[in-house]
């Protein structure tokens, strides 16, 4: 089954040069697709388009087998595709970890008790129960990153969209993240600058360059990223 199918997507921020100029790709069940590209290439923009936080100026976004155009179309997409933002601080706005993780389930209409049960199960899954009652704002960068992942997983999405998930992670936490992600059944789109991380996780790689997605020359050299950055 095809989870996402982007066809010739064009996008420009108001009054700026185009960011995407005909980006196309498909994401299939069970895939972990890595997307690479230099700073400002439009990787975050692409992920935001996929969940309808931005609308393409041209092209089609087909998600979960239905074309998505209006805001209402994307409500379902956002339930089934969880986006982890590039900057954890943009995503964490509740005082405590438990409340932040419960935010998504509550939005899906769960009762307070159901949501709290969900919080506990997700935090246990990620081995993060010790953070449950901590103040989000005072976590370290790495802890924040893991909590944002938990917050998205709490919505039981079918697809994970990860925007530079290794940002702010030290080696230990990064190894842990790799392990967690490898164990998850979800299909994923992973935006990352880090070739080692990509290699460990991705089943397929693309590069965003000049507003279009192309095949990644990963095989060419270990150092591709040094060229593309």
């Amino acid at each position: 089954m095809c989870l996402f199918d982007l066809r010739d997507v064009h996008f420009a921020y108001a009054g700026r040069a185009p960011v995407l100029a005909g980006a196309s790709f498909q994401l299939h069940e069970g895939e972990r697709l890595a997307i690479n590209g230099h700073n400002g290439a439009g990787k975050s923009t692409l992920l935001r388009l996929m969940v309808g936080l931005l609308r393409p100026t041209a092209g089609a976004i087909i998600a979960f087998d239905a074309p998505r155009q209006k805001e209402a179309d994307f409500h379902e997409v956002r339930r089934r595709a969880g986006l982890v933002f590039q900057d954890p601080d943009d995503q964490l706005f509740c005082p405590t970890v438990a409340e932040d993780v419960a935010f998504g389930p509550l939005n899906l209409g769960q009762s307070r008790d159901e949501a709290m049960a969900q919080v506990d199960s997700v935090l246990s899954l990620l081995d993060l129960m010790y953070l449950r009652d901590r103040i989000t704002h005072k976590l370290s960068g790495g802890e924040k990153r893991l909590v944002t992942l938990a917050a998205v997983l709490a919505m039981s999405p079918a697809v994970l969209l990860l925007d530079e998930p290794t940002n702010a992670l030290d080696e230990e936490n990064e190894a842990r993240l790799v392990e967690i992600l490898q164990s998850l059944p979800q299909a994923m789109v992973i935006v990352s600058h880090d070739p080692h991380f990509r290699r460990k996780l991705a089943t397929r790689s693309l590069v965003l360059r000049g507003g279009v997605l192309g095949a990644a020359p990963e095989a060419a050299a270990q150092c591709t990223h040094a060229v593309t950055r």
């Binding site: 509740c94 005082p95 103040i135 989000t136 704002h137 005072k138």
Partner: protein, 203 residues
């Protein structure tokens, strides 16, 4: 909430301007230069917060949050809210020029009042109790704003008395929302950054 040019009688407009000048002067006197960045950045936050539309039943209202502004800024709420109103008037055509003083008083005076009524309780004690008092501050400041608007209208002429009553009624549901929101905001800040309310020098 914004009263427009030409609606109020001259004595009310002039009285408002005088009180606003006093409040602004008082606020600036308690605002040392090192605090100006903080006050300016907070003033910008409240400007943005006032653009947030919150649903209420089938309709929606935009936030005022003068209670929260008062809790955080104290007397500095006068100049800070004046600046926000000035920018709104000039660039959005919202409100008016001669009534800028009145409008400032309508919003900032309740803010300062709840600062002295509620901020001392909010600074200490458990976060939950602080949140309740935050809610009280949010409701009280908006209620006071409503009363002041009604008062300004009623002072202008008997013909405005029904409109003034309507203003009071219209404020009631918004009061509830501001109370809930301010309560939650206080809850968060008390847990995350209690120092936000500790700025004695603001007071």
């Amino acid at each position: 909430m914004h009263i427009v040019d030409g609606a109020l009688s001259n004595p009310v407009v002039i009285g408002g301007a005088v009180v606003a000048l006093g409040g602004i002067a008082m606020g600036l006197k308690r605002l040392p230069v090192e605090r100006i960045p903080a006050a300016g950045v907070l003033s910008a936050s409240f400007f943005i917060a006032s653009l947030i539309h919150v649903p209420i039943g089938p309709s929606s209202v935009h936030l005022i949050l003068n209670g929260m502004a008062g809790l955080v800024l104290g007397w500095a709420a006068f100049p800070a809210l004046f600046v926000a109103l000035l920018l709104q008037a000039v660039f959005f055509g919202f409100g008016g020029l001669t009534v800028l003083g009145v409008n400032t008083v309508l919003i900032a005076a309740p803010a300062v009042a709840v600062h002295f009524l509620c901020a001392p309780v909010i600074r200490k004690g458990p976060a939950r109790r602080a949140a309740v008092w935050g809610g009280v501050a949010g409701a009280a400041s908006l209620a006071m704003t409503g009363v002041l608007v009604a008062f300004a209208l009623a002072l202008t002429g008997d013909a405005f008395v029904p409109a003034a009553k309507l203003v009071l009624v219209a404020h009631a549901p918004v009061m509830v929302i501001e109370a809930l929101l301010t309560g939650a905001a206080v809850m968060l800040t008390r847990q995350v950054k209690p120092e936000l309310f500790m700025k004695e020098a603001w007071g």
